[in-house]
């Protein structure tokens, strides 16, 4: 009996022993992304303090496990470390997915500053440390860091980027993956972006980024905010800037909070103001600016899935040079002949008419999910609301009433599937649907510049990227876009007949009000675009890129519907309902040399655009204000070609030289004339002295040399001046002379403690206070450009 009891006890012990600590855990590690076994991963059993590694098939075995919890910490080179807990109640087999292509899949922030959108296109990235120098300036100013990018300005606050001679509707601007819809057709409509909300900006020349749109005849500007880092962190920065010219000041601040779980929240805000700018000799009266903006984003981002909500707000109130407001051609001649603006007052922060007041809201929701051995699905909805007021100099009760009041609302949904299971051969497919509603408020008491319209867009694309071998990457894609615009526009009966629309479009008249007609133009466009490119690495230092892009851009509302007097240009501008889309064929080639102390990028391009739409003078019309030249949107065949060069040479650890230069030529082939508003040859040279030991001291001197544009169309005309009874030649075409400016920049970074530092920057633009006028500034007829400007900027990083 005693023996039996002992035996039972023994068996029980044995059993309980077997029950508790004889189990086996069999694991198999596979790559999430393409199902290949993960070899040589370290598996740490946290509660047992034991290690093992995965074998050649990605398998590992843990024996003699007891009942209870088992926590495994699995790590592998290039993978995110994964911690998993299992409850052990018997032998188990688990297949565990790790992701070891995180770098290639671009999911970590290490290389974020270098992140490019395209493989074979001519793409340049402007990094945060360069962008910060433009904190108090505008997006358009910063983009000029890239050779081949210039700007077309209305004064100094309205700066529209221009890529290889093309601007406005021919450029797409992408803010945090949302295509900006802010009445961008207008040459006086600057992009509604606060430069301080960008962490880096990528400029893509040409239409190679098909996933973004098929109508980027000129190029794409991609604005990337700060990337989310999946660690417990709290960081931010505050920048305070001041400048002497315009007595401007700005403050911008950002704060980012991240959690290891993937949750994040960031806020950023900016306030900027300046008063009247000053040319070397006089104040530029009414050139003040007030800008305030903020962005908030929050969400949760993990490798497998995540979401983000993003909202941005910006309001800009921009004064336009008082003396640029003119009534007729005689006034324009007076302005051109006068050596300085007709109205120059003392300095003031006041912003009076003429001015713009533009508010832009952008809201976005993004969700993504990754599927094993397949790829990543992105779903995005975004909404934009653009409210544009333009105030003119008016009399009586209308004095404070806007002359232009446009509200543009845009809803877009996109679904994008990135099939990247095979990293050598990726496929990206997507669809996009967009609805847009433009409302032109009739209470302005001024005829609508742009009519009420609704627009429907649908797009779909497929792009592929094939890494042929270590040296060769090929990409290709096609895209189809459908656009429908449904407008309600009033035409003056006299204009309707003068255009010959009564013959061609009589069926779209829906109401006859006597002196005007209400019409309902509905147009649809089918657009095909495509791109293909090659990247070939000749050796460790030399790379060449070749790219071909076909793009198709339908006419924008202003090209179709413009109809009236443009005051600041003293001309009647007319759209044309008969316009069709323009088709661009762009070929580009890039040579890139990269050695330890020398870097060279040479971009060549040829862009042939059939049915290119642009404003050209076509005659003179008499009104009660006097005579005005008429400029019509006409189509032609155009070609643009050019070369952009940038190089960096390090003489030693302290001294470096940077050079950029750019030449663009544009021809109207049909008319046999030069294209208007093409940037002149320009060349920039910067010598930088850096001394890390002196608190990261940096000082640079930049020479900016812009040549005179000698290739321009002669759109001068003769007009009869009633008051003097004589004919006068109005020279609106001749570009201003070449100019050379010197700029200085310096900075030091003072470490405050382990985490915080203070960056102090001092810069002087136009050191010698040189008087100049720029060909691509539309106010060049009226006043000189900016004189000397000293800027001081403090940036606290925490």
């Amino acid at each position: 009996m005693r023996l039996k009891a002992l035996f039972i006890l023994f068996i029980t012990f044995q059993m309980s022993y077997a029950q508790e600590c004889s189990y086996t855990f069999l694991g198999e590690l596979k790559d999430f992304h393409d199902n290949t076994p993960i070899v040589g991963a370290t598996i740490f059993m946290q509660n047992l303090n034991r290690y093992t590694t995965s074998d050649f098939d990605g398998k590992f075995k843990i024996e003699n496990l007891c009942t209870g919890e088992l926590t495994l910490v699995i790590s592998h080179v290039g993978c995110e470390t994964k911690t998993l807990t299992y409850s052990i109640e018997g032998d188990i087999f688990k297949r565990i997915s790790l992701e070891h292509h995180i770098e290639e899949l671009d999911e970590v922030s290490l290389k974020s500053n270098e992140r490019k959108t395209t493989n074979t296109a001519q793409e340049s990235v402007i990094k945060a440390d360069v962008l910060k120098q433009y904190s108090i300036l505008s997006l358009g100013d910063a983009l000029k860091e890239v050779p081949g990018v210039s700007s077309i300005n209305t004064g100094n606050a309205i700066v529209k980027p221009m890529i290889n001679g093309l601007h406005s509707s021919r450029l797409l601007i992408l803010n945090n993956n949302v295509r900006l819809q802010d009445q961008e057709w207008g040459i006086e409509h600057a992009p509604n972006i606060d430069i301080n909300s960008a962490n880096n900006i990528s400029v893509i020349k040409g239409a190679a980024a098909l996933a973004v749109g098929g109508d980027a005849v000129g190029g794409v500007v991609v604005i990337n905010p700060n990337r989310v880092i999946r660690i417990d962190t709290l960081y931010g920065k505050t920048t305070v800037s001041g400048q002497t010219n315009g007595k401007g000041f700005g403050i911008t601040s950002s704060l980012n909070k991240g959690f290891g779980s993937g949750w994040f929240v960031s806020v950023q805000g900016t306030l900027k103001q300046n008063g009247d700018f000053k040319s070397p000799d006089y104040y530029l009266t009414n050139t003040g600016l007030k800008s305030n903006s903020f962005t908030v984003s929050a969400g949760r981002k993990n490798f497998e899935r995540g979401f983000e909500v993003f909202y941005s707000y910006i309001n800009n109130e921009i004064g336009i040079l008082r003396s640029s407001h003119i009534g007729n051609i005689s006034d324009l001649i007076n302005a051109i002949n006068s050596q300085q603006p007709l109205v120059t007052d003392d300095f003031s922060y006041d912003i009076n008419a003429p001015k713009q007041d533009v508010t832009h809201h952008l809201a976005k929701a993004l969700y993504y999910q990754r599927f094993k051995n397949f790829g990543k699905l992105n779903l995005q909805y975004d909404y934009q609301n653009n409210q544009r007021f333009e105030f003119d100099i008016r009399v009586g009760d209308d004095r404070n009433k806007a002359a232009l009041d446009l509200n543009l609302q845009t809803h877009t949904i996109t679904a994008d599937l990135n099939l990247d299971a095979n990293l050598q051969y990726k496929i990206n497919v997507g669809v996009m649907g967009r609805y847009q509603d433009n409302f032109a408020n009739p209470d302005t008491g001024v005829r609508r510049l742009i009519p009420d319209y609704e627009k429907f867009d649908f797009g779909t694309y497929i792009t592929t990227e094939w890494i042929v071998n270590d040296k060769t990457t090929i990409d290709a894609g096609v895209r189809y876009d459908y656009n429908k615009i449904d407008a309600k526009k009033f035409y003056r009966t006299s204009r309707w007949e003068e255009r010959g629309y009564d013959e061609d479009f009589s069926d779209i008249v829906i109401e006859d009000l006597g002196t005007q007609l209400l019409t309902n133009p509905v147009f649809t466009y089918h657009n095909f675009s495509a791109s293909a490119g090659l990247k070939y690495q000749l050796d460790d230092n030399n790379t060449i890129l070749g790219n071909y892009a076909l793009s198709s851009r339908p006419p924008n509302p202003s090209e179709l519907f413009s109809d009236g007097l443009h005051h600041s240009a003293a001309r009647v501008e007319l759209g044309d309902l008969r316009l069709e889309q323009e088709i661009s064929n762009r070929i580009s080639a890039t040579y890139n040399l990269n050695t330890s102390n020398f870097n060279l990028v040479v971009d060549l391009f040829y862009n042939r655009i059939n049915d290119f739409m642009y404003l050209r003078p076509s005659g003179i019309e008499q009104t009660i204000r006097g005579a005005f030249p008429v400029w019509e949107y006409q189509k032609t065949d155009a070609e643009l070609y050019g070369i952009d060069i940038s190089s960096n040479y390090k003489f030693n650890d302290n001294i470096a030289w940077r050079h950029t230069s750019s030449y663009t030529k544009g021809n109207d082939i049909k008319a046999g004339i030069d294209l208007i508003d093409i940037p002149a040859f320009n060349t920039n040279n910067t010598i930088t002295f850096t001394k890390e030991e002196w608190r990261s001291f940096k000082a640079s001197l930049k020479s900016e040399w812009v040549f005179e544009q000698t290739q321009f169309p002669d759109f001068n005309f003769e007009t009869f001046i009633a008051t003097t009874q004589e004919d006068v030649l109005v020279d609106i075409s001749t570009p201003p002379s070449a100019f050379h400016l010197l700029h200085f920049y310096s900075e030091v970074t003072l470490p405050l403690n382990e985490k915080n530092n203070l960056n102090i920057a001092l810069s002087i633009n136009n050191i010698f206070n040189t008087s100049y006028r720029a060909y691509l500034n539309r106010l060049r007829y009226f006043a000189d450009d900016l004189g000397r400007n000293i800027m001081l900027q403090l940036q606290l990083n925490y």
């Binding site: 899935r305 407001h325 003119i326 009534g327 007729n328 005689s330 006034d331 007076n334 007709l342 109205v343 969700y367 999910q369 699905l377 779903l379 909805y381 909404y383 100099i393 008016r394 009399v395 009586g396 209308d398 809803h411 949904i413 649907g433 609805y435 509603d437 032109a440 009739p442 302005t444 008491g445 001024v446 005829r447 609508r448 009519p451 009420d452 309600k488 009033f490 003056r492 009966t493 006299s494 204009r495 003068e498 109401e511 009000l513 002196t515 209400l518 009236g564 007097l565 009647v572 019309e621 008499q622 009104t623 009660i624 204000r625 006097g626 005005f628 009633a722 008051t723 003097t724 009874q725």
Partner: protein, 186 residues
């Protein structure tokens, strides 16, 4: 997958809501304000007699049609005329008299008169703005000597430099109306 489904539902409903909420209203025509369609200069002989009118009328504003210029008759040599100018917006019904706004904001306006030809015609201003500078809505015109092919250019300027020397070329500002009339002096 469930989250995707939920997301898609939200997604679609947003699309639906936004496309349904749109109204398909017919836009209202713009009631054009402060447009000057018509300028009439009425010259009444100070000694009595038939008035002569100079008129420029452009009913389609900055549309393609040129203004209609009419001169009702010749001026009489060596005669003094009382002149008054009226600016109308005839797009409104009844026509809006913009002259009243010009007079109300007299310091920001001035009507200029310039002659060419051999008549030797001239004007003098009969009215002043709040600062004592000429306005030019009411004038006295001296017809001068008998001649043909003379011109009178009448210009309404907004925010001209004031005071000025009375010539249009040196007045700066913006031109709101500019019309040239040919006339004979008998």
């Amino acid at each position: 997958m469930k989250t995707i489904k939920n997301f898609l539902i939200v997604f679609m409903s947003i699309g639906l809501i936004t496309s349904c909420s749109d109204d398909d209203d017919t836009p209202n025509p713009v009631n054009e304000e402060e447009v000057i369609t018509t300028m009439t200069l009425t010259l009444t002989p100070s000694g009595g007699g038939t008035a002569v009118t100079f008129q420029s009328q452009d009913l389609d504003g900055d549309g393609p049609n040129a203004p209609m210029i009419t001169v009702s008759g010749a001026l009489q040599a060596s005669t003094t005329y009382n002149g008054s100018v009226v600016f109308l917006n005839e797009l409104e019904s009844p026509a809006e008299n913009i002259t009243l706004e010009v007079i109300e904001e007299d310091d920001e306006h001035q009507v200029f008169y310039g002659f060419t030809g051999t008549s030797g015609s001239s004007i003098t201003y009969n009215d002043q703005d709040v600062n004592g500078n000429p306005l030019g809505v009411n004038i006295t015109l001296n017809a001068g000597a008998a001649s043909t092919g003379n011109t009178l250019t009448v210009v309404l300027k907004h925010e001209p430099t004031k005071p000025n020397d009375g010539t249009i070329a040196n007045a700066d500002g913006e031109t709101d109306v500019e019309a040239t009339f040919s006339f004979d002096v008998n």
